[in-house]
Point group: D2
Chain length 486, copies 4
Amino acid sequence: MTTKTMNLNDGREVWMNGEKVTDIHAERVFQDTLKIIHRYYELQEEKPETHLYTEKNGKNYSTTFLTPHSSEELAKKAKAYREIAKESYGMLGRTPDFINAGVAILPNYAHVLGKDEHTNYAENITNWAKHVKENDLFISHALQNPQVDRSQTLGSLLKSGGSDYAGAWVKGERPDGIIVHGAKMVNTLAPLADELLIFNTPTLTPEDDAFGLAFALPLNTKGVKTIVRKPNSKYDYSLADYPLSNAFDEIDAFIVLEDVFVPWEKVFVYNSWEKSNAFFPESGLFVHTAHQDEVRGLVKLEFVTSLALRLAKGLGLTNFLRTQEQLGRLTSNLELIRGSVEYSQLSGHFENGDVYTPNMQSLLAVRDSLTEFYDEALRLIAEFAGGSIVGIPSAKDLFTKENGELLKSSLTSPLLSAEERLLLLNLAWDVTGESFGQRQRTYEFLHGGNPMWIKIGHWENEDLSLGEEMVDTVLSRARESLNEEK
Amino acid sequence: MTTKTMNLNDGREVWMNGEKVTDIHAERVFQDTLKIIHRYYELQEEKPETHLYTEKNGKNYSTTFLTPHSSEELAKKAKAYREIAKESYGMLGRTPDFINAGVAILPNYAHVLGKDEHTNYAENITNWAKHVKENDLFISHALQNPQVDRSQTLGSLLKSGGSDYAGAWVKGERPDGIIVHGAKMVNTLAPLADELLIFNTPTLTPEDDAFGLAFALPLNTKGVKTIVRKPNSKYDYSLADYPLSNAFDEIDAFIVLEDVFVPWEKVFVYNSWEKSNAFFPESGLFVHTAHQDEVRGLVKLEFVTSLALRLAKGLGLTNFLRTQEQLGRLTSNLELIRGSVEYSQLSGHFENGDVYTPNMQSLLAVRDSLTEFYDEALRLIAEFAGGSIVGIPSAKDLFTKENGELLKSSLTSPLLSAEERLLLLNLAWDVTGESFGQRQRTYEFLHGGNPMWIKIGHWENEDLSLGEEMVDTVLSRARESLNEEK
Amino acid sequence: MTTKTMNLNDGREVWMNGEKVTDIHAERVFQDTLKIIHRYYELQEEKPETHLYTEKNGKNYSTTFLTPHSSEELAKKAKAYREIAKESYGMLGRTPDFINAGVAILPNYAHVLGKDEHTNYAENITNWAKHVKENDLFISHALQNPQVDRSQTLGSLLKSGGSDYAGAWVKGERPDGIIVHGAKMVNTLAPLADELLIFNTPTLTPEDDAFGLAFALPLNTKGVKTIVRKPNSKYDYSLADYPLSNAFDEIDAFIVLEDVFVPWEKVFVYNSWEKSNAFFPESGLFVHTAHQDEVRGLVKLEFVTSLALRLAKGLGLTNFLRTQEQLGRLTSNLELIRGSVEYSQLSGHFENGDVYTPNMQSLLAVRDSLTEFYDEALRLIAEFAGGSIVGIPSAKDLFTKENGELLKSSLTSPLLSAEERLLLLNLAWDVTGESFGQRQRTYEFLHGGNPMWIKIGHWENEDLSLGEEMVDTVLSRARESLNEEK
Amino acid sequence: MTTKTMNLNDGREVWMNGEKVTDIHAERVFQDTLKIIHRYYELQEEKPETHLYTEKNGKNYSTTFLTPHSSEELAKKAKAYREIAKESYGMLGRTPDFINAGVAILPNYAHVLGKDEHTNYAENITNWAKHVKENDLFISHALQNPQVDRSQTLGSLLKSGGSDYAGAWVKGERPDGIIVHGAKMVNTLAPLADELLIFNTPTLTPEDDAFGLAFALPLNTKGVKTIVRKPNSKYDYSLADYPLSNAFDEIDAFIVLEDVFVPWEKVFVYNSWEKSNAFFPESGLFVHTAHQDEVRGLVKLEFVTSLALRLAKGLGLTNFLRTQEQLGRLTSNLELIRGSVEYSQLSGHFENGDVYTPNMQSLLAVRDSLTEFYDEALRLIAEFAGGSIVGIPSAKDLFTKENGELLKSSLTSPLLSAEERLLLLNLAWDVTGESFGQRQRTYEFLHGGNPMWIKIGHWENEDLSLGEEMVDTVLSRARESLNEEK
């Protein structure tokens, strides 16, 4: 297997800052990010023992497509996820392995989707999953609907003429497929993907059948437009000035569907709000992508924890008890997450016969807590860096004939040369003070769902039997005593 | 094996509120707590498959004395700890299994203590550990020194005549043993124990050789006095009014040693500040007792989490999103602790040949976080109970001829009868608002060491290699860019 | 004017722990608290310049009854409140001055209550306010209804036979007055008061006319029962052991009304849910009692702030930067509250012609924040005291022949003698770890209303015009730029 | 008086991103900020009643130069500060009024600086203050030293040849003045100022006499270089996209002094580490600039509080109790700050005869708390905006022929048009997620000193006499009881 070459100038329509992008590979922001995506493919060549597995048919596939049948196989996948995440310091949340984790087990859950007079949805998704795996495609998923008017259902909004772009809906049916119209928002990395997988979160109501859809399509399908948000990069400056902002950008996009034709074989849910609601939680997609996601989140937390420590050391703060205590708080947080991610793999169960499924309550506890732990690390990095951060000149200034030497003399400390100090503080600022870092923080807080709903869902599914038994016991002893008072 | 009968009127000298206790079994506060301690022995009869194991010699011993050789054996011990903890809802921190967890592996580490011209300390501790196991004794440990003057070393304090009671020290030597004098503080459950194990935290300095001691002695040894703190009970009221305060009390005590003779065979460290410092951390005591301790802490967290839920349900609060979110926060916390405790067992390593030793970094992360999670649960219980708690009359009032019926009518809600409401709110108050509950909170925060030092120790021992590698990578990429600016 | 003598054995029916109290003055818990209440009267003799003012009729009255006509007069009242609060370290929240602050201005708002065919309510309340002032009565107010079933209105609960004790309601009408039945809960200090003022929070609905009531009655009225909660005292121990718990108790009580007759002249609202809802917020009672309340709250915060400092000094912690920072946080909190209380007086406005009314938004900001600042001080006190607190023996132990000297030697430090150390740590524990302290914490969080509703009310009434103007400006500048893009 | 015209192309040497700026007025980032600075002068024409006052000599001066002799005069100054701050929404911290607040009273404290054989420092500073006032100059102050090696004193660092740029130091003396060499960092707005006032924080030691300096100089003095940090602007986009980042930038700069000659008449401290340490705290500069600073901080807090509300309303969140409570928390915080700023003016005292000096403990409590309140508002804004913020296309995209209409349809809600929604979310993101906003957050946390030291200083100066008295009382009562036990 040779490393895949991606050609994005395949007719896809991508817009940025009011203009259509004529050559996607020529835009630096796309180029930079593509390099990191590409590492997913390169790693298969560099470390095949980790990144490939062999199927009964004798062929090798990316480990991320492996259907896990044991805790060990889940751990093998986790190792691959971890190494892929390392390439972006855990900051690219939607690398190919994310959706692959779900695609890997979709066929095992295909029966959930059934069939009808139009087509066999179960078969379609099974075939599509195979197609993705065989070609090791990069799939971006489009889940969120635009926030048009959350006080109305999508169905009534459509009927009342409120908006044609409140989601993706079926405008017409043809013998060979359907015509889809509408929009989806916050589609991370979409302009760089091979195909889009479009579906809904489980929030449709009986009025929303027109939106009751799930399907896939290539990005260069006629009628598909991708409009990207403003990038975070500052290309007037170097990577030394902005080591992360200028390294890659996860590129959230707005997807518009203008009377797009989707052939039946790529339709997985049609005309059913109930199946649409089932698509994500009951297809295994939710739990298996959550596994990839928390492994990646852990890598990101490892990164910022080490950065906090590096900074504390470089600025000479590790002699302060206060700083030591703060660092201990971070490592203690990190250790809870590490242990829980591992535990989620070790305490899995079998679903649909033989899919070894990670412990979702552990994964959701990680998802819920990691956001706060990540934020805590950011705040500490900002506190350590303090005002130093705004006293750093640009890398160019450090090397001018007129000012270079004096700046070096002013910025050098016994612990750090001026150059190392500049690099370290720029990194600290990029992760806390630049739009790159703040978008990362926003992503970490929200990409897995509203933190409030994650907590609520966690409570509803938690096994509290041990505690319940103890509360029953203490109350029953007190009740006996009460009865004696009568 | 028959359940052990404890006779505490064996000549031991116990003081309470200015008076010597003449019959320990007649004091209700001792009686009540003894019942819970006794459950440790009863469980061995009730569930021998969990609480006993068979040694090569064919004899059965408490599972808590098992030397673990595998993750499974550690899990077996954890199960026993958990069931013992359940008896007190996780609130008795110093039940026999605590020190047994350490005694179980002491012989494997005995060589650390060596021998000298007086005696063979390694042999002594091995024999003592055997003696404790064979007789299934209840050992209380005395670790803390009185806070006389922390700005001086113990040695210089003694020499200057500052105080004879700043710790336990050797006043004289005899051919058959030593004369010990001094005091130790906060010795939990001491008056109910068979023997005391007396040692120091690893804080001695070269000046403190006189304090460089570790030894054991029965509570009824001549010269030993136990002075207990004020109890938390309110025995003018019933268990219905104070379901925990009036159920048991962990009874912290001040131990005084007045020229006490300790025979050589019970001496484990003598005349060595270095060995005293090694005794706790390098004898396996620290890590194995930590394992018991975190399992117990988890049980306590399970208890208060369930209590918070029970209260929210009983008071009709579970319809509020706010409350649901708060409950989800508690279950998410709980799940992190559960996963980490399990992970500490699954990711152990072998020490001294074949002692399977739990992952200390996981256990310390639990110790560090559990205090805050426990406090968070308490605060939520207090918030849920709100002002209701001070509107509850005594159990007796609920049954007076004159007021009983009207009080019941005022306190009954569709969700709870007046009686159940009274019991539940009294339980909530006992755990948050009474000295019983607040002493429990203090215990949870401090029994495992100052939270600041736990954090600092955690940081110092954490493996951060993955993060370090990533920080190196990002800085090296930025450095390349910087070098291009030159 | 001579200090008032209170005779509480006037036929009132008070119940405690299932028994009717035969001699109120003989119960130590009542005795102790009464002493502090009595200080309110004694201060008028000791410092008449502060605690008395002279009316046009030449007579002297308690300053707390003064109708304020200027910022200076409000400050004079605040000074009296502060000195009264000092007597209980700010911990008795319902001393006579609390309700007096409202009674003072009730006549100015009497017109709100109107009149009808039965009686002239405006006149009644005016006369009652005069009666209270002339006789300097101690009035306890009964506001809260029992929590029977908050999912139903009081009216429907009554009609459906759900409970006769869900509030106070009119059972019958007589030519000379009304027959009231029902109950009120959490009536602080009720058993020690002269009269009760009974009314509702503004939460009645049109179905609740039977509960649409406000009236006053002496505690010894036939049919009135006062059932007190379990006290916090621990009288087996001395004041040295429990310096606050054994000093006084604010005594929350359950009030039962069994077919109680109230003559028309003591009825202030009748048969009107709307006037009941108006009674508290539109009578000046709310804002003027809030003024007293926040002055008292400030005194309490001063107390715990100083206690935290005293403790930090006594335990030798003030050399640690960490501790110094924590103390600075407390003094900074305190200073915000001080400034805001003063500002509420300096930025008042006139109502109903000439009643100088404090700035309610400032007072509510204090009410909202003080709870958290108080809690923060408590947590710090607990942290400072740490485990020392459970190592303290009883005062009696300190003086036994057998143990006294050795305990003193163990507890003495260069900064504190054993005796002072015991007193200070007992005080710290009383305020944080005993039911006295925790009931105080609960009181501080809830006595002024649910913190969530206080915040919501604050937002609804805040003047944000300056910020609004700036947001308008920045958006309008951006809008201009946007329009240029068109 | 006509509005001052600033000419910055006066020979000053300003560096940005490795290049010398040839025309300062031509750089957009300087242009934009200058417009806001200029408003300080324009306001004097637009609202002379607020922004000017008349001296005995009949001349008008900026109100910011008024020496306050009463609470009313302080309030007049506060009003001027507030209106100036409004122009930048409180975000330009170093507008001319900041240092003017201190310059106004410098002559009253001039005696602190004394005189010696070289010159009369007291006279110098008095003359300079007059010169600034007469010409209404814009003074930037240079306070911070570069962080070369904080483990050594500046003096020993210089002697050992460690760095010539660890601060500003005297390299030579001439009959007519001194030669100064070195550097200062984080000099906010320096490139746009008329003159620099250079001094130290009170941290010099006896070894640092060479650094014991305070002096002023015009920016275009030979040997002075200003090197500015990387700007926050994103000028590829419009003000609609970045309503704050592209509106102004406070421009922190590094100041280099290369053998700069300062004539005696501009030298205020020379060769004295003690006077250098006295210069800031004992010259009135600290307290009077703090007054301006906290008034400005309040304006900024008003701005973000209103923005949070605007956002909550625009996104339809104000129906949620959770959101309402969060808003109430913000308004309660705001009200504490408002009250405390006002109180600082109302509770001032007289210094040096007749300078009415604001209450510094109130101002420092504001400084300490405002940082956290500001941060709390930012976090709430980020939470409200949630993921919406990354779903916003650029302003240009909103008006393309191809996508404009469909984007509008997707972004319009019943509460906000697409355009208003874009503007509001861009503003929210600018204040929370862009480097502009994060630099503002850093500024707020650190510009007034390290928050830890602010707290510590606050504690050391707080009047706690009321609390002390109460603690004494309760302990003395407990002590009496203890003595009875003896």
